[in-house]
């Protein structure tokens, strides 16, 4: 009885460690195949389209609404201290530092990451990956690497769009609706937000999230049990693991970047 329970615990641990190891090996193989993308840039362009262009609409619309909500809520709190003019700072800082990279990563995980997992998982289930191998084409280089690099490339652009549109949304609500002073909104924002400290760190965050989200999605697809049930489970796992990894890493990155 006790030994059985112990064995089960051990198997869980071994499985988790094994998946972690396979994931890192896959990442190394994907990165080693980066030369393939240099030879065939068309593959990368197609993946930037899949992950980036197709996610623009959801990212921009979400950014607009998040910015507008920040404007409303921020104004409510700040007006209690008579500091409505700081609304611009609050909206822009929260967007550029946190919400831009994080919410974009979560949206991309749901919108593009799940699609990647399903695509790779189905390719595996229908033995297309084995077929490529039969033709002496390395599926990791040919299929996975462009998707990874495309995702990494697209993420900072999407996060920047999210933040920019969010700031404009906050501006509409704060200045247009609630009557915050136009000049103070922008000038306080500019004087309080630093290019290196805030903007560059936000871009670094979104790059990290781009790696994590696409990596998890691709690994889950590549590692899926090649059945329809296995692919559906892998897709769920990809979204859940990406979301957890993004939120956890965000805390670590924030602590490293801003927590001195």
């Amino acid at each position: 009885m006790v030994l059985d329970a112990l064995a089960r615990l051990g198997r869980v641990g071994i499985d988790a460690l094994g998946a972690l190891g396979r994931g890192h090996l896959l990442l190394l193989r994907m990165l080693a195949g980066a030369s393939e993308v240099v030879r065939r840039p068309g593959l990368l362009v197609a993946q930037v389209y899949n992950v980036g262009v197709l996610s623009v609409l959801i990212v921009v619309v979400s950014g607009l609404f998040v910015g507008m909500v920040l404007g409303l809520q921020g104004h409510y709190v700040l007006s209690q201290f008579g500091a409505e003019e700081s609304l611009g700072v609050m909206v822009a800082a929260s967007l550029v530092r946190e919400l831009g990279p994080v919410v974009t990563a979560l949206l991309v995980a749901g919108r593009a990451g799940s699609a990647l997992t399903a695509e790779i998982g189905l390719m595996k289930a229908t033995e297309q990956l084995s077929g490529l191998e039969m033709m002496a084409v390395d599926p990791v280089r040919r299929i996975l690497t462009p998707r990874l690099l495309g995702g990494i490339l697209a993420m900072p652009f999407l996060a920047a769009m999210f933040s920019a549109v969010g700031v404009v949304g906050g501006y509409f609500v704060g200045v247009g609706l609630l009557g915050v002073d136009d000049g103070a909104f922008w000038s306080q924002m500019q004087s309080k937000l630093d290019f290196d400290e805030d903007l560059v760190n936000g871009v670094i965050k979104s790059l990290v999230f781009g790696v994590v989200v696409t990596w998890i999605a691709l690994f889950q697809g590549h590692d899926a049990t090649p059945t329809s049930e296995g692919v559906s489970r892998a897709t769920t796992r990809a979204v859940v693991h990406s979301a957890l990894a993004v939120l956890g890493l965000d805390f670590v990155l924030t602590a490293l970047m801003f927590g001195n």
Partner: protein, 156 residues
């Protein structure tokens, strides 16, 4: 070929939009347009008390920003605060008897260094120290003095 071309155009538009967004954030939201970008020259100033002055606080002259506080250190031999100010290169004619004050923007706003030009013909150079300084006004001390003087008045 045609499909590939339209794909490339769309991706190009996507990346251009992302770059525009980054540019917008850099210019309109962050302080890049007003940054001193590490050029300019450095002055130091000693204060008995700097209040809550922090690095990156503005340095102004006549209300116009001419530089930034680069760092604030503590001098353990004189028990004074040493503020390092980075002044824009274009502002190269600050007289050497200039007065450095620590002001507060608004009642509860952040603190900044205000320079009041003196009348000297000699200008401060890179690495020079501003001799005339006035410490930050600490609100608690002012309230304390105010109460004290009120109590004295009441006693008469």
């Amino acid at each position: 070929m045609n499909k590939q071309r339209s794909l490339e155009v769309l991706v190009g538009a996507f990346m251009a939009a992302g770059l525009v967004a980054l540019f917008f954030l850099a210019m309109k939201v962050s302080n890049l347009s007003a940054a001193g970008d590490g050029t300019g020259y450095v002055l130091t100033a000693r204060f008995a008390n700097i209040g809550s002055l922090k690095a990156r606080a503005p340095v102004t002259m006549a209300g116009v920003r001419v530089g930034r506080v680069e760092q604030v250190q503590f001098d353990k031999s004189t028990y004074e605060a040493v503020a390092t100010l980075r002044i824009d290169r274009s502002v190269d004619s600050i007289p050497d008897d200039t007065f450095a004050n620590i002001f507060t923007a608004g009642l509860l706003g952040e603190q900044y260094v205000g320079l009041e030009a003196g009348g000297s013909e000699d200008y401060l150079k890179d690495g020079d120290e501003i001799q005339h300084t006035q410490s930050a006004l600490v609100l608690e001390q002012m309230i304390g003095q105010f109460l004290f003087s009120k109590a004295e008045e009441g006693g008469k």
